[in-house]
Symmetry: C2
Subunit: 378 residues, 2 copies
């Protein structure tokens, strides 16, 4: 068995050390990092179900990784390639009740926790780095600005935001573009923060933060925007989501979807779904076109892939997270710290290696007479 493992890992510039000191791949030296299996069970479980048990072992502390975690993971991803995942680990459903549980388990971990490592406005989605040297704060602000410019918001227009996080985009749109926003979310912690901030910044008359499932959004809007929520909608609800957009948008309205995607249709890693994002799914661009936009006569105007920007964003989050580890450990425990360290580093590696994509799609109704002549300003 060891020989099989050795043959399959010999291409990676990574060393492997077993519980008894035995080393696999010693000829690779120690160029990028080292995986240390602290007991026999960790190795066996990994071989049995690597997708799930790599993360389980790292979280449990029976698999240690030396070197920069994101670099080691990127080396592994690039060496072994994006696995042809099957649906071995089934998906949860995405009805409103399940959606609430899914969201609660991740986004209601406490605002003080997220404040330790996100930017000051708590923007928990891919930033836009006009130059690679931008700070996280600059890049998140640039992202908010870019989303608004892509939507070509005009003062007095009505915007609906599905999945508003801590409210940064909704408040930015109202403040800088004079629009009225109805922003929906089912995370109580996030909404409490967003409402408090709206009051403090005297934007409460223009931004309404609503605790409700996206499926219950009513009315119409000149612009529909959803940043980092589609991943939680679930493929079984794409028709529902597309129907919603088709119902909300005025004849000349615009929409923007910002979401984590993939080049190939496959389930999200099972460990991420078990420990980090229950029920999450990252669609291909084709799936979003075919299953959300096409059936509802919505026309794609513009697509931008920002995967490198998400790798950079995650690198920034990770630095802050690492620096705050003692605090995180005191809030939760070491197991939690390891799980989140792996999630952040693994995500960074996934975007850097091209396993994951970050798409921004701008769309309008087919035949809209209100499409921009060029994308010069976005």
């Amino acid at each position: 068995m060891l020989r099989r493992v050795q043959a399959s890992v010999s291409k990676a510039r990574i060393q492997f050390q077993l519980w008894d000191g035995f080393e696999l791949n010693p000829t690779a030296g120690y160029p990028i990092g080292r995986l240390r299996f602290l007991n026999r069970s960790a190795l066996y479980r990994l071989l049995w179900d690597p997708e799930l048990n790599f993360g389980e072992a790292y979280m449990a502390g029976t698999l240690a990784i030396d070197g920069d975690l994101a670099e080691v993971l990127e080396e592994i991803y690039r060496t072994f390639g994006d696995p042809r995942r099957t649906w071995r680990h089934p998906y949860r459903r995405h009805d409103p009740r399940a959606a609430r549980a899914n969201v609660h388990s991740h986004y209601d971990l406490g605002n003080p926790f997220y404040a330790l490592w996100l930017d000051e406005a708590l923007v928990y989605t891919c930033a836009y780095y006009a130059t690679p040297e931008s700070t996280l704060e600059q890049a998140q602000r640039a992202k908010l600005d870019r989303v608004c410019r892509k939507l070509r918001l005009a003062p007095g227009e009505r915007v609906i935001e599905a999945g508003c996080g801590w409210g940064a985009l909704a408040l930015f749109m109202a403040r800088h573009h004079g629009v009225r926003v109805r922003a929906f979310n089912i995370s109580k912690e996030q909404l409490a923060f967003a409402r408090e901030r709206a009051e403090r910044e005297r934007l409460g008359d223009r931004v309404e933060f609503i605790e409700d499932d996206y499926r219950n959004i009513s009315g119409t809007c000149d612009a529909f925007v959803s940043v980092g929520m589609l991943e939680h909608v679930g493929a079984d609800q794409y028709d529902v989501f597309g129907t919603l957009i088709g119902r909300l948008l005025t004849p000349n309205g615009r929409g923007l979807l910002h979401f984590i995607g993939r080049d190939r249709s496959a389930p999200l890693n099972a460990w991420i779904r078990r420990r980090i994002f229950p029920g999450a799914y990252a669609p291909t661009l084709g799936e979003v076109c075919d299953r959300i936009l096409q059936p509802h006569a919505l026309s794609v105007l513009d697509v931008e892939n920002l995967r490198e920007h998400y790798a950079r964003t995650l690198d920034h989050w990770r630095s802050r997270f690492d620096a705050a580890e003692p605090t995180v450990a005191s809030m939760f425990d070491e197991r939690f710290v390891r799980a989140w360290r792996l999630y952040l580093a693994g995500s960074q590696a996934a975007f850097a290696s091209g396993w994951m994509q970050l798409f921004q799609i701008v769309f309008a109704r087919s035949g809209s007479v209100n499409v921009p002549w060029t994308r010069a300003t976005s």
Copy 2:
């Protein structure tokens, strides 16, 4: 039957006149235009198979249209909506022999004919109007430049162009970006023009115009580009086309596809296929993602929809065509003039009304380390 027609046309701001002088929709006045059926058979045939026989009747002269043809057609398209077309009119196959016949019937009509109404470089694809006031010549040059910047061509790189038309892009890339180009085409007339121009401009050492089917392209390239050819590839050959791209592209190569697309999967109008573009098909963005790019681990970096630019391009072509009608009639006949007038005006109306899209997709291999940081220069 007339009542049924009357009910269905009453929303369009168009008058209908029958062979005996009877008018349908007279209350609409004459705001946009008038359709005149010159005999009973034209009306019956239209009702029997409008998709095919609208064009047949116009071409035969038994259906006359008063008013600006593109405006009348846009009014019809917008009023009646994009029909849910079935596959009633079957498609031709797209093997190399059929492809050659399809291409010959359109692109080998004679270079002097196309010179009457295209720009001076004979660019027969959607232009890019940096401002709506650009001339056709400016806009075609801007398009060539934009394609090159999206591909980030560097001096000395090797480019493969599939479907090179009269060679304008291949020569532009070699002249302005110092690349070496192998440009493929199966239209003899176009190739003769392209080769002659390459010699005259002393670019023959950097641009090779090759008469061969795209399926026979061998070797590798740093950039793959295809502008206005995918429409002729045929959906049954998408896997072949994707396999080709996957084989040609170097690990850090880039690709660009520029093609007429649709928001919804449907066959192209049967009359267009019979009289103008045999075998042509305009795919959805999702079909191109799912069937050409995804199976070959190609990652979408950027998509731009330029449908309004194609409506403008067609408006420019149409003005020149109209001015050259006597010459065209002397080269062919009045039937040909009417068919091409309808094709150009109908296409303009289709892009203006949103029935048709024009997509430019930039892609790279999944995980390429050579993706641009931003699209700022394109």
